[in-house]
């Protein structure tokens, strides 16, 4: 279970401090599919970064499966994220000098997955890219790169998957394709938190953020 209690977060830009999140309270149960929606600058990515332990709140706490991750050190959060989380970023972040398979293998090796090569190929099969395992990122399309990022996020079988606008730079067909893959993974019992500003992609429990505040919640 994920518990977010009165979380505040602000950033300093030059001499000005800008508060991005204003006292967020949120509870996400195990196995839920949660979609965060809202316009640009509403705080979706910031909230996801806090949930993934990439950043820490200025105030409030985040407890995941009984562990207050906001109190962990940077290194401890890295290790926690490694074991418990799959992260799909907004931009196409693959390592350019590694092949598709090697990019997926990174996580598998880190988390000491048995038969990491087979596991990586299996993850690539789930996203429909097993045949392109030996290619390099520069030889793939945007949609394919994002699917590799999904394979990399699921290869070690994490409990939670966080996807920060993974469809932002894709065409409609690819957007739908990515969401379908995420739903398929959710059906395997994972907790999925997806951020998107495309309202038609929002699924299941939908939480709307505006100016760093939760203004509404609905189910679809």
């Amino acid at each position: 279970m994920i518990l977010v209690e009165n979380v505040h977060k602000s950033y300093v830009y030059g001499k000005q401090r800008s508060e991005v999140l204003h006292g967020i309270n949120l509870k996400i149960n195990k196995g839920e599919f949660v979609t965060l929606t809202g316009p640009s600058g509403s705080g979706k990515s910031t909230l996801l970064n806090l949930l993934a332990g990439i950043d820490v709140p200025d105030q409030g706490k985040i407890v995941i499966d009984g562990k207050e991750i906001s109190k962990l050190s940077n290194e401890e959060r890295t290790k926690w994220r490694r074991e418990n989380l799959g992260y799909i970023p907004q931009f196409f972040y693959l390592i350019p000098f590694l092949s598709v398979l090697e990019n997926v293998e990174i996580t598998a090796r880190l988390t000491k997955v048995n038969n990491f090569k087979e596991a990586s190929l299996e993850a690539l099969e789930k996203v429909g890219l097993k045949d392109k395992a030996k290619r390099f990122p520069s030889e793939l399309s945007g949609g394919e790169i994002q699917r590799v990022a999904i394979a990399r996020a699921i290869v070690h079988n994490p409990k939670i998957i966080i996807a920060d606008e993974p469809t932002a730079f894709l065409d409609l067909k690819n957007k739908q394709n990515i969401v379908e893959i995420l739903l398929k993974i959710w059906n395997e019992g994972k907790t999925i938190i997806l951020a998107t500003h495309d309202s038609f992609l929002a699924k299941k429990r939908i939480i709307e953020l505006v100016d760093g505040r939760i203004i509404g919640e609905k189910y679809a």
Binding site: I54, T78, F91, L94, L110
Partner: protein, 737 residues
């Protein structure tokens, strides 16, 4: 115009300030060292000759003789010195001293009072003697002498503990009369040497004076010349290395800079910048930095250059004193500034080559990389996953990796060479001084020498002769009772026209037994047949090898006169001989073999100053280069590292991966460095510090391991910087793109 304008504005980039500082410093060092080397070279030709003149005459001379000399039409100026060896009692201990009376202090061989006055004696080089009365002993007669000041002068005449400048009254009091034994003369015209020599002998006959030797002083063979040469060679080598470092740094920097800013290049191209515009935009700041750095560097080099020159001279204790430095008119040579500017300009042109290639001929670069990288990815095709990641984080490209290997090999080579030379140095001094138990330096008439067994007695002159244009020590042995230096080949001379040469002379000038050499002493030349090669300690107070020639005694005496300095190498008990020498009025300095070895080793300190300087420069410059490559490479891969951290790689794990790749670098460098060091250390030491004698430095495993430990220190520092960079990575910023 727009390209130039935004080019100027791009100077605000952080990296440019660092580049400006580095270039300014490099230019300042470049000009300073170049100028110091030029002045070091010049000092040999002018200052020595101005200070000592052209001719040295030894013997016994009275005032009538000097009166004749002073009226001679050939003479520009002269100096007569009375040099008297004596014993002196300092804090209850008997020590040796030369009492020196210079007849005319505004001429050659002058001195400068540093403290007090010359109403009494002046002590040279402030030591442990206080002003006031002190007891001296000459010919077993004790006298009191009053010391009233300290002075500086270049009166290096032999192995004594102290040198005192006395006045006319003190000389009269000591000797009862005024007699001189050395005269230095500066001629109006050197073409009149022969006539002047003839006149001098006429004067001696007329005035009942006695001439022992008439030596023409060669401005190229002055004391300290070898040390000055060593300094100049070191500086030249330093300049050469600095040039390479500046060039490589500039070149690498441009490539990396373009790699990092390739996106900017593309965007500018998209908005309408032509290739020419882009080239102007990228080269404008480089030209400006070049101009600013040379102007500031020039201003810094003016005082810095004199500092380098003065401190390198003062680090040579044998050859120089303050007065010698004062005699020399230091010049800041603007021709050198212009040359340095042109060399730097050449660097600049080379350094903008990558910009030109990158903008105009990018395809050629890709074609070039085809040979080194896997065809499709422009990256090395490494099968091992961990190795691949490590390699890409630490260097990325094969050419960068090869450059890293070369740079680290150079660091390792210089440290291996340093340690190997240091070890071999000490060993060679021990071997050289192993043939005797005690060394006695006895000042007095050799006719009065007692009967000595188990010893050899030597006489030597420094800086008065040359072989193949190189300064040599000329020596002879008066007595040979079995205690002789190590004869490597042949035999000792038994007749005139024969000589033994030192191993150093043999090796450096490729002279063998049976060869004929020409010994130049002043205007005279002597043909000598080499009958042997020996390792003889005739340098650095008879503790080190150097270029030397050993003549048969009669021939030596004919050329250089009869010297009062007797060098005795003795085996067994020294006490009886020592006491007998004292009772016969000799001024005696005793030194055990161990003291000689220790002293000889300390003589290496001068050379090690240069060696350490060179090694330090190499380590520093190469560390900077390695640092530039590793840090800029890492900076350009921040995003990749960010992803790795996002996926769960800890900072520690990433740095371990980078170090892992560096282990390959280190282990590849060891055999390369070992092979280079074998040649480099021998060449380095014999080229740079040739005056210390020839030897082949040895390299063992211990030296390699020690060198590796020292060479790794700068790498650790670089890895610490990398660690800080990785630690400070802001994942949020990376995720924002």
């Amino acid at each position: 115009m727009l390209s130039i304008l935004i080019g100027i504005k791009s100077l605000r980039r952080k990296g440019f300030l660092l580049l400006l500082s580095l270039l300014t410093l490099s230019f300042a060092v470049f000009v300073s060292v170049n100028n110091a080397a030029y002045n070091l070279e010049n000092i040999a030709k002018t200052a020595w000759n101005d200070y000592v003149g052209n001719v040295r005459i030894t013997g016994i001379f009275n005032e009538d003789f000097l009166d004749k000399i002073s009226k001679s039409e050939y003479i520009q100026e002269y100096q007569a010195l009375a040099i008297i060896p004596a014993d002196i009692y300092v804090k209850g201990e008997k020590r040796t001293v030369y009492l020196i009376y210079p007849r005319n202090n505004i001429s050659l061989m002058s001195y400068k009072i540093k403290e007090g006055n010359n109403t009494g004696a002046l002590i040279l080089d402030k030591k442990d003697i206080e002003f006031g009365k002190i007891i001296i002993k000459i010919n077993n007669i004790e006298k009191e002498i009053n010391i009233t000041g300290y002075a500086s002068a270049f009166y290096v005449f032999g192995i004594v503990d102290y040198r005192l400048i006395i006045n006319e009254n003190q000389l009269k009091d000591i000797l009862g009369q005024i007699i001189y034994n050395v005269i230095f003369v500066k001629l109006k015209d050197l073409n009149n040497l022969k006539e002047f020599e003839k006149k001098i002998y006429d004067y001696s006959n007329q005035t009942k004076s006695k001439i022992d030797s008439f030596i023409v002083l060669d401005p190229e063979t002055f004391p300290g010349k070898n040390e000055t040469n060593a300094a100049r060679n070191t500086f030249n080598l330093f300049i050469f290395l600095l040039s390479i470092v500046i060039f490589v740094s500039f070149f690498v920097y441009q490539f990396i800079y373009l790699e990092i800013n390739s996106k900017e290049l593309a965007i500018l191209n998209v908005i309408g910048f032509t290739k020419k515009n882009l080239f102007v935009y990228y080269t404008t700041p480089i030209f400006l930095i070049f101009l600013i750095s040379t102007i500031i560097g020039y201003s810094i080099s003016i005082p810095f250059s004199y500092y380098v020159f003065e401190s390198s001279l003062k680090s040579v204790p044998l050859g120089f004193s303050e007065i010698f430095l004062e005699k020399y008119g230091y010049k800041f040579n603007n021709e050198i500034v212009l040359n340095s500017f042109l060399i730097f300009f050449a660097f600049l042109i080379f350094s903008i080559l990558p910009i030109f290639i990158y903008i105009y001929r990018k395809n050629i670069l890709e074609l070039f990389s085809f040979y080194f990288f896997s065809k499709s990815k422009n990256k090395l095709n490494i099968p091992n996953f961990n190795l691949k990641v490590s390699f890409n984080l630490s260097s990325g490209n094969l050419w960068k990796f090869i450059l890293l290997i070369i740079l680290f090999s150079l660091i390792l080579t210089s440290t291996i060479s340093l340690f190997s030379i240091r070890d071999s140095w000490n060993e060679s001094i021990e071997n050289l001084n192993n043939f005797y138990d005690n060394f006695i330096y006895a000042l007095g008439n050799s006719k009065n020498l007692p009967e000595i067994n188990n010893a050899s007695v030597w006489k030597a002159v420094f800086h008065f002769a040359k072989v193949k244009e190189k300064d040599v020590v000329t020596a002879t042995f008066l007595i040979n009772k079995g205690v002789m230096p190590n004869l490597k080949e042949g035999r000792w001379p038994t007749n005139t026209g024969e000589c033994v040469i030192s191993l150093t002379l043999s090796k450096t000038e490729n002279i063998k037994v049976g060869d004929e050499i020409e010994l130049e002493a002043g205007i005279n030349k002597y043909k000598l047949k080499v009958v042997g090669i020996a390792e003889i300690p005739l340098f650095f107070q008879y503790t080190r090898e150097t270029r030397s020639v050993v003549l048969y005694y009669d021939e030596f005496k004919k050329i250089f006169g009869d010297l009062e300095e007797n060098v005795i190498f003795l085996k067994g008990d020294y006490k009886a001989i020592y006491n007998e020498l004292i009772s016969k009025g000799f001024v005696v300095t005793l030194r055990s073999k161990d003291e000689s070895i220790s002293y000889g080793k300390s003589g290496g300190a001068i050379a090690f100053v240069f060696l350490n300087f060179l090694t330090f420069s190499l380590i520093l410059s190469n560390t900077i280069l390695i640092g530039i490559i590793l840090v800029t490479n890492l900076s350009s891969k921040i995003k990749e590292i960010g992803i790795l951290i996002l996926l769960g790689y800890t900072t520690r794990k990433i740095i371990i991966m980078i170090i892992f790749s560096s282990l390959i670098l280190i282990f590849t460098s060891i055999p390369i460095s070992y092979l280079i060091s074998l040649y480099f250390s021998s060449w380095n030491i014999n080229m740079m510090i040739e005056f210390t004698g020839y030897f082949e430095p040895k390299i063992n495993m211990n030296i390699v391991i020690t060198s590796l430990a020292y060479s790794l220190l700068p790498l650790i520092l670089i890895y610490f910087i990398l660690y800080i960079i990785i630690k400070r990575i802001n994942l949020v910023k990376i995720l924002l793109g």
